[in-house]
Symmetry: C2
Subunit: 127 residues, 2 copies
DNA sequence: GCTTGACCTGGAGCGTACGCAAGGTGGTAT
DNA sequence: ATACCACCTTGCGTACGCTCCAGGTCAAGC
């Protein structure tokens, strides 16, 4: 599969895919004799996985460490698990802060709703 | 209140507070005749509000627009409400993506848990 | 044979949100 | 008086995560 096809399927730019590979966010992709990348389904799975994780705010460095550990096989299972747990906890913490802010925003919006109505009553000519 | 005191109370650096003021994330702070900032409780409220919003990932530019609208008084109520609603929706969307990722991480971790146990059974000498 | 277009590499550039250091001022403690 | 410390401004530096560009290569169609 060419890089362009992966771009479409995963909704990323070619630059981003090459960047991901360069920094080890996805394992090295096989190349044709002339050096052109040839993605497998497995590669695409990595890309989509990384995209999801990135969308949730997981850091590139942590994900790269995680991906890098796969080269060491099953001996790195525990280490990989630790990374996942750490990232999971960080994510849960961020979500907690966001829940509070979301509630505050909702309260604020409700308040604005009222005040907007009041302002309109005071400033719009009566029908 | 001096900038140092606000730093402690809000857990920010002085640089950040000056930056916030410069880009309009908080309204202009009163100065002493010699130019030293003198924060009011109201200022501190702004700072904590902004810190919470920033912690949840709301962008500086959006918050600056929101703060800027206060100078226009009640006539800007509707516009401010729109900003809040937009930011609230963006936040809700991010949280949704994060919820999915959190679930995936939990599943992955559970799977690792099992595989780690299996690996240990295979590699540790029997007692 | 030549053009076209997709791909390659290396490296520079960019937006965001600060952080830091240099050089200067002012109030106060000794 | 002078030393000191907290504060000021200006402007450059940094980390992160891409993004873009120049210059080159390769395979295919005309």
């Amino acid at each position: 599969m060419t890089i362009a096809q992966v771009c479409k399927r995963c909704n990323v730019t070619a630059d981003t895919l090459r960047y991901y590979e360069r920094v080890g966010l996805i394992p090295a992709v096989r190349r044709s004799p002339s050096g052109i990348r040839d993605y497998t389904e497995g590669d695409v799975n990595w890309v989509t996985f990384i995209r999801h994780m990135r969308a949730a705010g997981l850091q590139v460095s942590a994900l790269a460490r995680y991906v890098g550990l796969f080269r060491k096989g099953d001996a790195s299972l525990a280490e990989r698990k630790d990374i996942l747990i750490r990232q999971r906890d960080l994510l849960a913490k961020r979500m907690e802060a966001q829940r509070e802010v979301l509630a505050r925003l909702d309260a604020k919006i409700a308040n604005y709703e009222e005040r907007c109505v009041a302002w309109e009553r005071a400033h719009l000519r009566k029908p």
